[in-house]
């Protein structure tokens, strides 16, 4: 069963299994979205999908609001390079060191 409430009620570890997978997301009104799943917001269950362009950079991003997600279907796995591109996608390059500071490890 893949109803909207079912998706929102998953646990973080359920959602995590979809990270870096190629997915088809069905949203309200039978809208179809496809792309690499970058993340699921654990607060709102919103899904961030990425369609990667050529290696030079450009990509397009779609976010489906958690309340509108009706179904998520895995259709493919990322190779190592794709997974790397996905994880570095929104990282600020220069401020990285400072932004990560403050946590005593």
């Amino acid at each position: 069963m893949n109803t909207t409430s079912a998706w929102r009620q998953r646990t973080p570890r359920d959602w995590e299994r979809y990270v870096n997978k190629q997915v088809h997301v069905t949203a309200h009104g039978q809208q179809q979205h496809r792309g690499w799943l970058h993340t699921v917001d654990p607060v709102t269950a919103s899904v961030v999908l990425v369609r990667l362009g050529d290696a030079a950079g450009g990509c397009s991003v779609s976010v489906v609001m958690g309340h509108a997600v009706e179904q998520v279907e895995v259709v493919g796995e990322a190779d190592e390079e794709t997974a790397m591109r996905l994880s570095s996608l929104f990282r600020p390059k220069e401020r990285e060191a400072r932004a990560g500071g403050g946590g005593g490890e």
């Binding site: 654990p42 990560g100 403050g102 946590g103």
Partner: protein, 63 residues
Amino acid sequence: GAWLGSAAPPHERPGARRGAEMKKLYGNDAAKIQAMEAALQLNFDRNCDRKQPKYWPVIPLRL
């Protein structure tokens, strides 16, 4: 509802409560996540103060 007299609930610091909740949700990363959220919320509050945006559409599409 039951009126419990003049005894007000004990004062709770919302910040402390939120901190504890964040710790439970995010463990060792709680401080980092909380800092990022604070930065985002600050942007939002500052922009709203300065630009005074009005809701669009005026009536919610979905009630």
